[in-house]
């Protein structure tokens, strides 16, 4: 039986709390994706099961307030911006009101931030009373491009599979797909498939673990919504499982592309993709945990590989991978309890209980709770 160190839960929680309280100037490049970073931190606390017990009600309310402040309305519909990094502080309150009531052309919502905001708010058990659902659907439809893909912000040429997944996840959360042209989006996904059995980020790109997860999760969300199966043929499914499994290196970690070094985040991307394909029993979860155990940073947080610096992104995704692939340890092992995490929903990438909250509170109330 594998000998594992402890999962240093308190250390990882402390790392995420430190980041939530502030980031040094060296991380200025997070400016345009701050909300996503907040999600990785809050999400880690959720996976560790300590949001309610270790974050005061007052603090949770302040977080919610800040998250809601990022929901903005305007000509392209409603969504969440990464942060107020492009929003000006006005001296007169009248001007300020103007800015807050409608975003400008360079301060628009961002589709990836919108997805991470909804999950973060669900983790904080928000009631979503102020969610502008109709505006959100309009935003999704303005982001969709001719080729079926979605741009990060309206009108941008930055578009790839990541944004398509966000559009699908948001539609699924709303239980309303009227904001997206599904067949067109699915044909875009299909053009990203490669001869290796994985999916690249855009048409013609090399197969990559992250975008393969994104593609498979999107197809599954759509098939769950429309009751259609068979987006993949059985032999395609087999090729994909084979390619994903081959990415588990002898170190136990997964690499993102054939022949690259293992990286903690791909333990989630490849692992979640395998779980979506129903192949989770084929993964060596003890080897995976032993790799992630070695990626733990001495003072908290998990890094992409042993000996590197930790960050919330790799911390969250490592914990999410462990929630799907708990190591099999004997009960007499003193460290066994430290590795136990609640189950994760691989499709929305949230703790199962958080997904339940989403299903109950984000759809339009009339066709919502049953």
């Amino acid at each position: 039986m594998t000998q594992l160190p402890r999962l240093s839960r308190a250390g990882h929680a402390a790392h995420c709390k430190r980041c939530l309280s502030g980031l040094p100037a060296s991380q200025t490049d997070i400016d345009g994706s701050r909300l996503a970073l907040a999600f990785y931190c809050i999400g880690s606390l959720d996976l560790l099961g300590i949001v309610e017990e270790q974050v005061s009600l007052q603090e949770r309310n302040l977080w919610k307030q800040w998250l809601w402040e990022q929901q903005t309305h305007g000509k392209y519909g409603t969504g969440f911006r990464p942060s107020p990094f492009m929003t000006a502080q006005h001296i007169s309150s009248k001007e300020q009101e103007q800015v807050e009531s409608e975003y400008g052309s360079y301060d628009t919502p961002h589709i990836i931030m919108t997805y991470t905001a909804l999950i973060s708010l669900a983790i904080l058990r928000d009631d979503f009373a102020t969610l502008d659902r109709a505006g959100l659907l309009r935003f999704l439809s303005t982001c969709q491009r001719e080729d079926g893909s979605f741009s990060t912000v309206p009108g941008s040429n930055e578009s790839d599979l990541r944004t398509l997944y966000c559009a699908f996840a948001i539609s699924s959360m709303l239980n309303d797909w009227s904001g997206v042209n599904v067949p067109r989006a699915i044909s875009f996904i299909n053009t990203c498939r490669t001869y290796e059995g994985g999916y690249g980020q855009s048409p013609f790109c090399e197969a990559q673990g992250g975008t393969t997860y994104i593609a498979l999760a999107s197809l599954k969300l759509a098939s769950d919504a429309f009751g259609r199966t068979g987006y993949l043929t059985p032999s395609q499914q087999q090729e994909t499982v084979q390619w994903l499994l081959r990415n588990q290196a002898s170190s136990g970690g997964f690499c993102g592309r054939t022949g690259k070094d293992a990286d903690a985040c791909y333990c989630f991307w490849c692992g979640a993709a395998l779980k979506i394909l129903g192949a989770e029993d084929l993964v060596d979860s003890n080897a995976l945990a032993s790799f992630l155990g070695r990626c733990q940073f001495k003072y908290g947080g998990i890094s992409k590989a042993p000996g590197e610096n930790p960050d919330p992104y790799h911390t969250y995704l490592s914990l999410a991978a462990l929630a799907m692939y708990p190591p099999h340890l004997s009960d007499t092992d003193d460290n066994a309890r430290s590795w136990r995490l609640d189950a994760l929903d691989p499709l929305l990438n949230a703790r199962e209980e958080t997904t339940l909250w989403i299903r109950r509170h984000i759809p339009v109330p009339s066709n919502g709770p049953s």
Binding site: G32, T87, T258
Partner: protein
Amino acid sequence: MPSKAAADTPLFAEREEWADVQPLEQYEGVNPIAPIFYSPEYKDATGYFRAIVQAGEKSARVLELTENIIRQNPAHYSAWCYRYETLLALLPPPAEDADAGAQPDIPPLLAAELALMDELAVTFLKTYQVWHHRRLLVPLARQPRRELAFIQRGLAVDAKNYHTWSYRQWLLAACYGRGAAADPAMPDAVLDEAAGVWAGELDFVDAALAQDVRNNSAWHHRFFVVYGARGQADSEAERARIFRRELIYTKQNIAIAPSNPSAWNYLRGVLRETNTPFAAVQDFARLYAYPHSADETRDVVDLDNPAPGADAELPCVQAMEFLADAWETEAGAEMWKSLANEHDTIRRQYWEHRIRDAHQTIKPAVE
């Protein structure tokens, strides 16, 4: 990341030529989550940027301002976007008498932008926005050959960079792919060079694999060049010639480095693309799927089935997996057993699953 350039130049607030602009501070609501403790230089530049955006000014100094911000934060997508729009506003309109298909001259402003992008792309190799901006410049400059040369330099710095390879694939498909010929704005000169460019891509892959035969990005690029971007050749003879060429190429590279998953994945890809059963190359795979034997002979060079070197580590896991997939299910089971118990134990659960499955209905993915 406070860059050196930003630290050496005076703040915008200290400059005469910016005195007419009233900077706008960033709005921070109640109790921000994960606030960034910005450097004074970043606060200064973004304050002026918010003011410029609000005023809608698109002048030469905006290029300086956005460059300053980008150097401090290359992921500032609004600065990139506004920079692009400012460029469009400042560039001279295309000459009226120009023939639609002609290669345009590059205005100095655009030339300067391209030069700057050459520098920034290498500094910020992993930032999405750098590459998206570059893509926007391609239709303005219409000089894809220049871009191909730039990418080559970029890959010399990082041979597996995902953004760099994606950009090359996008560029080739956009300028020399099927759609390009139908694009009335595409200069004739670009269309005329297509055949030569595609042929050159195979040499490009060769050079990359000569450096590192395990570079999967280069293998993927080869597949893109041969099958991905333009589909299969029209004539059957040509298709057969290409198929044979790809098989020999792959086998020779496997002979150099047998346990190279990229090459075996490529082999699988070529066979599937051409609807060829895996069993068609089983004689080759067999040479790699067993330990060295005492009666190995190396005198005969068989081009169709190049043998592993005497020092090759055999058996090779990829060859075993390939053979097991090629064979009828029962024969493969022995191979899977040996993978599960000895040669590839990390995937033990998978190989055992294949053995169980072999007794059921699902056939391997070979048909």
